[in-house]
């Protein structure tokens, strides 16, 4: 780089451009970012399960034989392994979203006090568990 002479006769080198560090692999640099990526990646489990259920609805519309075929496919060993993996993904996804949920909401004021982050998370979990158990009971009841 060429040096320049300023108005008062002082020779100055032109400024160097600042150094920009690369971002490649940023998510592995911090355990917090790894947890964030787990939240993002486990969204795939939600998507895959939605696809599985959509397939079920489609097969149902195609008649009894198609529906029974889908039901037996759901009972295969591969399907059960897939569902266990998806369940794990869903639990991690729910956990990570409830973790961040208080930060995504406008403050809730009850009786003049702001509802704590912990209470929001506990409420989320309670609703999730109650709904899951209710759906499970409904499924068991419909089989009997």
């Amino acid at each position: 780089m060429q040096s320049k002479t300023t108005g008062n006769g002082v020779r100055r080198n032109p400024p160097h451009p600042p150094y920009v560090r690369p971002m490649a692999g940023w998510w592995a640099r911090n355990p917090f970012f790894v947890r964030y990526m787990v939240r993002e990646v486990t969204a795939v489990a939600v998507w895959v399960y939605a696809l599985v259920l959509s397939c079920g609805v489609l097969r149902l519309s195609q008649g009894e034989a198609a529906w029974n075929g889908w039901l037996s496919a759901m009972q295969s060993r591969a399907s059960i392994v897939l569902h266990l993996v998806l369940l794990l993904g869903m639990v991690l996804h729910v956990h990570s979203w409830f973790e961040i949920m208080p930060k995504t909401m406008a403050p809730i004021i009850v009786g003049g006090e702001r509802v704590s982050a912990q209470r929001i998370q506990r409420t989320g979990w309670t609703v999730a568990v109650v709904v899951t158990v209710a759906v499970l009971l409904l499924a068991v009841w419909s089989q009997s």
């Binding site: 451009p17 920009v20 971002m23 930060k103």
Partner: protein
């Protein structure tokens, strides 16, 4: 003050643009006492070992926001991080992540300051009042809405904690958006319309993916992730409200 008896290794990411084409690590052995902050460790290096070291600092009591740096990979104020808590070392010190390095631990702050100016970080009164009419009053509940966000000291630790800012430096970022919220949510302020364009932009709240690390590292207990994410609702409402008949909203797309 007791004589220093123990030593700790401080490893520092150095960048002297006239000397190195990319940053390099350099190690220093520093004597320390129980009451020494990382900043004091750096001052020892500069005064007694290597005068070529560059870093910013001023108040030494976590209020000026100058001495932010990565300490053991975490965005921290070096004045309130103590060497005794980092034993046995080594302590790794780097310039704040995601910001261009000018020299050693000194990062470029100009883009941040421009963004800060852009949001008009001051109260724009709803209506002009004469001095004789007295002060603008606020209830404790109204103060509560803005108080934590007004604690921001512009130290930029939240920018070093935000990978979305690292990936896209045009993102307005957590600190400035938290301050934007601080003024928009102020009961005395009438400048919301002027700030919504910045908030609504893709580089505004919508570039945030709720990583949430910004709020973890804030040294003043501000929750920028909350400010940004509750404004996604405000931004969405601002968008849809224009479709209502007799809407006063004049926001362009």
């Amino acid at each position: 003050m007791a004589e220093p008896t123990r030593m700790i290794e401080i490893q520092m990411l150095r960048y002297r643009p006239e000397q190195e084409s990319e940053p390099i690590w350099q190690s220093y052995q520093v004597p320390f006492t129980e009451d020494m902050s990382v900043l004091q460790g750096l001052q020892y290096i500069k005064d007694d070992i290597d005068g070529t070291l560059s870093f910013r600092w001023s108040c030494r009591m976590a209020i000026c926001g100058s001495c932010g740096m990565m300490i053991n990979r975490k965005p921290s104020l070096s004045c309130q991080t103590f060497l005794r808590d980092l034993l046995p070392g080594p302590v790794k010190v780097e310039a704040l992540d995601h910001l261009p390095i000018e020299r050693d631990l000194v990062v470029s702050v100009e883009p941040f300051v421009k963004k800060l100016e852009g949001i008009k970080p001051y109260i724009i009164p709803k209506e002009e009042r004469a001095l004789s009419e007295g002060e603008y009053l606020q209830t404790p509940a109204q103060l509560e809405k803005i108080e934590q966000f007004s604690s921001c000291i512009n130290c930029m630790l939240c920018y070093a904690a935000c990978p979305q800012f690292g990936l896209n430096p045009d993102f307005t970022g957590p600190g400035v958006l938290a301050l934007l919220h601080r003024y928009n949510a102020d009961s005395r302020d009438g400048g919301r319309e002027q700030r919504m364009e910045i908030l609504n932009a893709e580089e505004g709240v919508w570039s945030c993916t709720a990583v949430g690390y910004c709020s973890e590292v804030c040294p003043k207990g501000v929750d920028p992730a909350n400010a940004v994410n509750q404004n996604k609702v405000n931004s969405a409402l601002d968008y849809f409200i224009r479709f209502l008949p007799n809407s006063q909203s004049k926001k362009g797309a």
